[in-house]
Symmetry: C2
Subunit: 690 residues, 2 copies
């Protein structure tokens, strides 16, 4: 092998391999922290059509926290209802049930559908708006070295990766887009299986091509503090680490068509699960731009005992024909097909997610499963949504490395739950409906419906509940455990809140201007921890006294907020204190509260965006957040919320000591220095003049 004549060398904080949803979410987080980041992808272009499309309500909450949830919400198709279709006594399919697609009340968003290419576009726009990070396409890592000796110091660069650049030709998938019939009137049959799990991995071919290619192409050695493999089911990064995906495949093959349907089937704009008597199942996912996605069981191509599938037998015509049989007596056809593919159902999860908290795996690199439940893109993005702020806080010296261990403990559990869910769900879906209660081989449609309903909570993404850790204080005083190092919660002060889950959102009003906000809108993904104080009714003198006490401690010269706020930054830049009192709004003035709750800045005056109230709005009802959180307005509670909106701690309104104990276990004291002066420059930056 020829050694390149000159190899460039460079340093970066974080190297991201793979620019799909997981990689882009991570780059997007890092764009908010000014972290030196490289992101490379072996493909020459982003995804344009097809691929993943379902977006959980939790994913929408997350995208909204980055200020582009509304772009998804506006462009996507909203799915409201699921219709179940089963054979009747004559074997003809009929609608047997309607259930809501998103459980009412679970989130202020509902599940929607928009193709992966648009989501990636929104990420790219967001990254560009906040940083100089650019996705390097057609760039491939070809070697990896890890220096154990450097792994203990988070300021050092233990990772060395060689990056090579592909030619345009090598980097461009052979898959042609097929937006119209070919000229002879045949439907185009280009290879829809290109990214399918029925296709072989081309990474080694690409590496070989890159190494044997034109020696004038750049070769670069990147030294990195962190590397994250977001490089899919065939992850090159995972292979370097020697980690494995564990699990297995089924014999079920499913096809996918994205078409503008021409049909008399009445529910083609609803999400449908259709079980035919003997021809297999179809799932309908209505999409944006008049498109409908059909997941179609391909009985004729099912493989037995792990035999290889003959890909040449799978064409859009074959897939359509299966759908027509399943949906008989309704007619189904199309003129326009946007995309198609097929895949073999299987479930696998990674045996490890990280190498010494310096190299991480995320997304399909650590969990693969069938796409029908609309989970893949969501869980992948949520992996790096969990990881991104932790890496950034360590790189920036805000936190000790201990918080990085929680990535694997938190996300591996989610991956295992996902795989278990998909295992059960896909078998119920691919099975033949039972003819009657005596038909033990068949799938009971009642059982299927129950699984669907139960699955909906999991599928919303809201059910995720992270275990106890240095950043989730689940243990309560009552348990009597622990050595006093770690903060303890008093969950009984907010019985509607699950410590470890994302904080549910209800509307509150700004004290100063009466504007209603969903609480989550106040918890933008900007890297801040939040202490949210719910002091109860402030007309009760005891409650106001506790606020005075807490305010004095928070404002103290050595308070945990001052201790951990980076030098020269505003006092709210790492730990932001928000207040939601129990109302009524008109009984209190902002300036009745101590300054810690509405910091003063000599350039911009009082901060009017920290104190809120649980009260009736003029136009948008009453959020009843005290009732919904189970907080007694006579007594109150305080919470600590992570930068990713998960609840860390619940305790007494004025339990300054326990709050401080929480942060003290993992945060890094900053140099003492003036604070509060960064404010005006940030105002000026915000003032839009065009």
């Amino acid at each position: 092998m020829t050694v390149p004549e000159s190899t460039k060398e460079s340093h970066t904080d974080v190297l991201i391999v793979g620019a799909g949803p997981a990689g882009l979410m991570l780059a997007n987080w890092l764009s908010r922290f000014n972290i030196k980041t490289r992101i490379v992808d072996k493909r020459g272009t982003k995804v344009f059509s097809g691929q993943a499309d379902g977006l959980q309500c939790r994913t929408l909450e997350i995208l909204d926290s980055f200020d582009f949830g509304h772009r998804v919400w506006r462009e996507s198709n909203h799915m409201l209802e699921i219709c179940l279709w089963n054979p009747d006594e004559t074997g003809t399919i009929r609608r047997s049930d309607r259930i809501p697609d998103t459980i009412p009340g679970i989130s202020h968003f509902q599940q929607v559908v928009l193709h992966q290419g648009r989501i990636e576009r929104f990420f790219l726009d967001s990254i560009k708006e906040h940083s100089d990070i650019v996705v390097e396409r057609g760039v491939l890592p070809t070697s990896f070295q890890f220096d154990q000796a450097k792994a203990a110091d988070f300021g050092d660069y233990p990772i060395a990766v060689t990056l090579r650049t592909l030619s345009d030709e090598e980097a461009t998938p052979q898959q042609r887009l097929q937006h119209q019939k070919t000229e002879d009137g045949q439907r185009s049959t280009s290879d829809g299986l290109f990214r399918s799990n029925l296709a072989a991995d081309d990474t080694d071919d690409l590496i070989r091509a890159a190494k044997n290619g034109d020696h004038s192409r750049p070769v670069e050695t990147v030294r990195a503090k962190f590397m994250v493999g977001c490089d899919g089911a065939h992850s090159w990064v995972r292979r370097q680490l020697g980690f494995k995906l564990e699990g297995d495949s089924t014999d079920y093959i499913w096809g996918v068509l994205d078409i503008v349907p021409i049909t008399d089937f009445p529910d083609v704009r609803q999400r449908c699960a259709i079980h035919s008597a003997n021809s297999g199942s179809v799932m309908i996912i209505p999409r944006e731009n008049k498109l409908v996605r059909l997941y179609i069981q391909l009985q004729s191509t099912d493989v037995k005992d792990g035999a290889k599938v003959d890909r040449s037998h799978i064409t859009p015509e074959v897939i359509l024909k299966s759908a027509q049989q399943i949906m008989h007596p309704y007619k189904l056809d199309y003129s326009y097909c946007d995309w198609w593919t097929a895949y073999q159902i299987g479930q696998r999860v990674g045996d490890a997610f990280s190498l010494q908290e310096r190299v991480f795996l995320a997304g399909d690199a650590v969990h693969t499963h069938s796409p029908k439940a609309g989970q893949g893109m969501n869980i992948s993005m949520q992996d790096t949504f969990n990881l991104g702020w932790k890496i950034a806080h360590v790189v920036n010296g805000y936190s000790s490395g201990s918080i990085l261990k929680t990535y694997e403990s938190e996300r591996r559990q989610v991956a295992q739950d996902l795989i278990a869910f998909d295992h059960r769900f896909s078998r119920l879906f691919s099975g033949r409906p039972a003819k009657d209660v005596m038909d033990e081989e068949g799938v009971s449609m009642e059982e299927f419906k129950r699984a669907f309903e139960k699955g909906n909570e999991f599928a919303s993404g809201i059910a995720v509940n992270y275990g106890a850790s240095v950043i989730v204080a689940k243990e309560s005083e009552a348990s009597g455990k622990g050595d006093g190092t770690y903060a303890k919660s008093k969950p009984q002060l907010a019985r509607g809140i699950d410590i470890g889950k994302r904080i549910p959102s209800f509307k509150v009003l700004n004290q100063s201007d009466a504007r209603p906000w969903h609480l989550q809108e106040l918890l933008k993904s900007n890297g801040r921890w939040r202490v949210i104080v719910f002091p109860g009714e402030l007309t009760t003198p005891r409650n106001m006294e506790r606020m005075q006490d807490l305010g004095a401690k928070l404002a103290g010269p050595d308070s945990f907020i001052r201790r951990y706020t980076p030098t020269g930054q505003p006092i709210d830049s790492l730990i932001e204190v928000l207040t939601v009192h129990a109302g009524p709004r008109t009984a209190v003035e902002l300036l009745d509260l101590p300054e810690a709750f509405h910091p003063y800045d000599k350039e911009s005056g009082w901060d009017y965006w920290k104190v809120f109230v649980d009260d009736q709005s003029y136009h948008e009802g009453h959020g009843h957040i005290y009732v919904n959180y189970g907080i007694n307005p006579d007594h109150g509670a305080s919470m600590i919320i992570r930068p990713d909106q998960y609840v860390s701690w619940v305790g007494e309104v004025d339990d300054y000591a326990e709050m401080s104990r929480f942060f003290d276990t993992f945060m890094t004291p900053q140099l003492a220095g003036e604070t509060g002066n960064g404010e005006l420059s940030s105002i000026l930056a915000e003032v839009k003049v065009d």
Copy 2:
């Protein structure tokens, strides 16, 4: 005077003079119709800060109909509450009342504040997205000719205007932006009065400069079918027509400061009307980006008997000092001033709005008044929102010219109402508060409050009610008037609807996918008339029969829909039929209804976006549109809605003859031709691939 050596000559459908909000709204409408449009502005740049800022809920509805209302909604400051501050018995100001800023229930938007520069940016983006129209800046009309002989034929070009281009220097206002203190610590005092009505008009100077300037600069004669003067209070177009603004000025001078306030005044983030005992009044308008606008009465500079104001006496320091006196004992100061100005209060309205329906005036060119009520930018945009589709329909040959006469009849009334409102309101605002009931010179604060509350309805923009005309069928059968040529309404079929007002919006569900939509979201500004059929409960056989009858007539080969649809365009491209039945949704299938209500296309199948239902949604409540519109679900009603969302006609569900009569009086039959084939190409254009 030197004659330019060569003069270019060109033709355009519409020439717009002035690229402020009125001109941009018009260009924006025309961008949706592929109308050949020129838009010129004498200034070299758009507005960047200051100027108008208040946006009525009706304006938000309109911007939303062009798909960028959400950009305003997200960036703007929302105003929820108005606080009234008056002197107490000791003469100290105190909060006397709180009232909602927008009347609850009046609209699905509420009044917000965002500076004119951003609104103009959104218009420019929207125009660019839909057309090749570009604002030509630093371009000035210098002569005007009108050929009477050509005025009768709407295909001809009766207007000739010479356009000259200014040098960059001439076109750039001298007003410097003042985003920070000057280096010696003094506040910058550049001329905030540049665009104020205290400044002289510079149009003639600019014309002189353009004519005497470099002769190599282009001179062009534009021949236009239509010209619209959106060129402000000193309108050059108005002068060419010889029209006048009628009305007068007051002696009141007010100053304006856009600042980030440093204050202990508790309501600085609320809209406030503050009447001091003896120092004058302040109005507070909280804005985006921590800014607050203060309108401040300048007592020391009030002029008497029409004397000229000495502009040099008006500085930000003088204005601030007045505010400090009025708001005493509260403190007020600032470090950052974004913009300032001052103006003299007066009210004027144009004596005519159009020359033979070929040259029109809009915006400040036909109505000027004081800015405090936040009306100016709104009424200006609504002028051309009224005019734009009418010009487009005439240019494109859809309609006879008769609809153009309604511009003046509809908008002059609005201008007069505005002027009357402002006259009363500004005098109440500038007057000294009455000390007691015996104080007849003072203004009663009770009267002021009542005026404020009543003013709120007017200020929302919702109250506008257009008079009877060829496109507003107010006359009812009961009146017995008319000669049978014009359609008559049956207002009793929808008692909650005012014919002539914009249709109120409530949520309805899509029949095919259960998604809730605000009715107005279905009425996008794309130039379509709508027939909205409210058939009542379709489980009642009589109601379904009437739908069958109406469907058959609408689908007939010579139906009014076919007659007026442009050749080769989809059947819904000029008159769209929407249905909202009374529910329940699950009792009906889309395909139970005749094809006229959900047109079939051979490339894209059935249209699933035409039939809606008044029913409970899973996540967003029940719109109760039948109750709100006063339609009996046993009987139903039909409506015709203008392309600008105003109600034209209310009648029986199946009164095809009267619907046809309505359109027959002003629409132009199109050549017979195939329809329905434009559909697929438009689908493909919509499919986003990146």
